[in-house]
Amino acid sequence: MTKSDSQMRLLIIEDDRESADYLVKAFREVGYIADLAGDGEEGLVMAEGGDYDVLVVDRMLPKRDGLSLIGALREKANRTPVLILSALGQVDDRIKGLRAGGDDYLPKPYSFAELLARVEVLSRRNVGPAEETTYRVGDLELDRLSHRVARGKDELTLQPREFRLLEYLMKHAGQVVTRTMLLENVWDYHFDPQTNVIDVHISRLRSKIDKGFERPLLHTIRGAGYMIRDGLR
């Protein structure tokens, strides 16, 4: 899915050798250029020198703590998006991480699919133009100002929350969006629901935008989440 983009450059700052190697390998497999730094100081030097699209930073690092690394970068007006990985998966820890200048936060243990989806969304932000007022995927059109949604010539009526769900999906069209990302960004909750509550919302939305149309736009990505895109792209 990333092949059409120019290759993404990623810096992983993680002291645990095994998980770092795993990450580097996994990211290279999906076509990223992934560099590795083993401690906070090295990470800071590399992050300042290299032109990275996203930094993946472990919260607890030798020599320099992850949060302090981010602080030092931000002080030097380096706005490279940062995703924080942390073994401390608590609510206030996440808030601390985001306050320190992180852009996203993922508690350990995580699935690679989740990490990949979040990194893609983050990096798009790096290149991305100013927020558009109209999103288009295939013949589906969403106007963020007038809150109108239309597929082809048909006007669709969506509930306010369905609208926000579709808006988020379309903003990241062509990217995998996980269930937790949806819960966090559309509902502003950060817990793990024990039920398939998000799937139900998705299937409602799907029945409104895809039902009766030949070409489905909202796709389920097995083991990861959802993606909206024009099927024949």
Binding site: V91, S111, D192, Q194, V197
Partner: protein, 488 residues
């Protein structure tokens, strides 16, 4: 340190000494004032009597002359306990009276003076003292009238003795009392110290002795006991978490391992390997979820999540959760309804939302009406398949409740249902970690409230009862016994 040294160093003993000093000073000045006043009173009395008599005798002299004077003097001088009298000629010769000798020069000047004297009839040589007045009669004769001061001296002696004794008694009683109080306090402090040392050595069940007097030491002991109670509960919680991790996480871990081993053992197709791996990931995800929930509960119970609290309206949380779960409930053939009134709250919005979400998930999972009811009629089943989320304020509390019309939980099981990993028999077949209610309960506890389970006739009402706009500090003031503490 010797026992005595320890005693003397106590605050109680030192305070006693200070009080003792002040009290003795007070007693001494009181007695002094009393003595001085008595002396003045006696002197005044003597002066008055002597003056009256002087006037009287002067009068007699004026009317009856020297003879009358001498006669009167001799007469009065012979009465028992009489005053002192002396009449002298202008040349200084004594002619009448009962005074044998005087300090020299007393008769030389008129007016008041204090002098040593001896009576005529007295044999002993000891001098007495007297207060005397000398007046000159018209013819140059002089008259002395006086009163012995023995009475005044004796009086003063009595007062001085009384003062000595009372101060002695005050000092003895004071020191004795100080020692007694200090020893009593010391004993109690020693008992407390002993208990705390035992507790420090690892016996967390020890409690400080609390007396019945309700004094400051008892209050201190009571508070320390409450603190120990809390510490013990926390330690228990911690121990329980590790026990639970051991028991309930090892089981799925074993399952996971067995499955992996099995897949590895038999030579299957790629599809079979794939299925086994997918299963493994699924299982480990559920393990992670359980683990997170456990950590969350432990954190909420220990009160660590208090840093992230702000003011919000519980009604908004309720409608957010309603909005999130409504489609899920509908897919499951249930109706999720919402009823809210403004319910301002100070707390952790995220945690309250999660607690409410857990209650709603439970209601959707277990709150379906029993078959008999469901089949008994369309109207009944419509109602029976309804779940109500309610947020309102009642007095000082915010109530967030979720009620269903399912089988409910028998009263005897309710307390049990809140405990970690407890899944009532009726729910064993459903998926879930069994942590939903205990997380909700822990969140309520964190906010100084509790989770109440009650009967919806039929069905279950689970209510988060949380003090409205509770500040973090209010937590300890909340009645601990209302909160189901899990004690193994």
């Amino acid at each position: 340190m010797t026992a005595f040294g320890k005693l003397v160093r106590t605050t109680a003993f030192r305070l006693t000494l200070v009080y003792l000093f002040l009290f003795a000073l007070f007693a001494a000045s009181l007695v002094g004032y009393f003595a001085w006043n008595t002396r003045r009173l006696i002197t005044e009395q003597i002066t008055t009597t002597v003056n009256a008599e002087a006037g009287e005798i002067n009068d007699i002299y004026n009317r009856r002359g020297l003879r009358g004077l001498v006669f009167t003097i001799e007469n009065r001088a012979l009465r028992p306990g009489s005053n002192l009298y002396l009449v002298t000629t202008p040349a200084g010769q004594a002619i009448a009276g009962n005074v044998g000798s005087l300090a020299p020069g007393v008769m030389a000047s008129t007016g008041w003076s204090e002098t040593a004297y001896r009576r005529l009839d007295e044999q002993d040589t000891a001098d007495h003292r007297a207060l005397v007045r000398v007046i000159e009669l018209s013819s140059g004769f002089r008259l002395l009238i006086g009163r012995d001061l023995e009475e005044r001296r004796r009086m003063f002696g009595i007062v001085a003795k009384a003062a000595q004794w009372s101060i002695l008694v005050v000092v003895i009683l004071g020191i004795g009392g100080g020692v007694f109080v200090a020893r009593r306090v010391l004993q109690r402090i020693d008992a407390m110290t002993g208990t705390t040392q035992r507790i420090m050595a690892g016996d967390l069940s020890g409690r400080l002795p609390v007396g019945r007097s309700g004094d400051e030491l008892d209050r201190l002991a009571g508070n320390l006991n409450a603190m120990l109670e809390r510490i013990e509960a926390l330690m228990m919680g911690l121990k329980e978490v590790s026990d639970n991790i051991a028991h309930d996480l090892k089981t799925p871990l074993t399952r996971l391992r067995n499955r992996a081993e099995e897949a590895l053992g038999k030579s299957g197709s790629e599809a079979e390997y794939r299925a086994a791996l997918e299963h493994t990931i699924e299982e480990s995800d559920s393990l992670i979820r359980t683990f997170n929930a456990l950590l969350m509960i432990a954190r909420a119970e220990s009160g660590q999540a208090r840093g992230d609290m702000d003011d919000f309206d519980a009604a908004e949380v309720a409608s957010g959760i309603h909005e999130l779960y409504e489609p899920l409930a509908e897919d499951d053939g249930m109706t999720l309804r919402l009823k809210t009134a403004p319910a301002p709250l100070h707390g952790n919005r995220e945690l309250i939302g999660q607690a409410l979400a857990n209650l709603v998930e439970n209601a959707i999972k277990y709150g379906k009406p029993p078959l008999a009811v469901a089949q008994s009629g369309a109207v009944v089943s419509m109602d029976a398949r309804q779940i109500l989320i309610e947020a309102r304020r009642e007095g000082d509390y915010v109530l967030l409740s979720v009620s269903d019309h399912g089988p409910g939980i028998p009263e005897a099981d309710r307390k049990h249902a809140v405990e970690r990993f407890v899944r009532l028999d009726s729910s064993r077949t459903q998926p879930g970690s069994g942590l939903g209610l205990s997380l909700a309960s822990a969140v309520a506890t964190l906010h100084g409230g509790e989770l109440r389970l009650s009967d919806a006739r039929p069905g279950l009402v689970a209510t988060l009862v949380i003090p409205a706009r509770a500040r973090a500090g209010d937590r300890l003031a909340a009645p601990m016994q209302d909160v189901p503490q899990k004690v193994a």
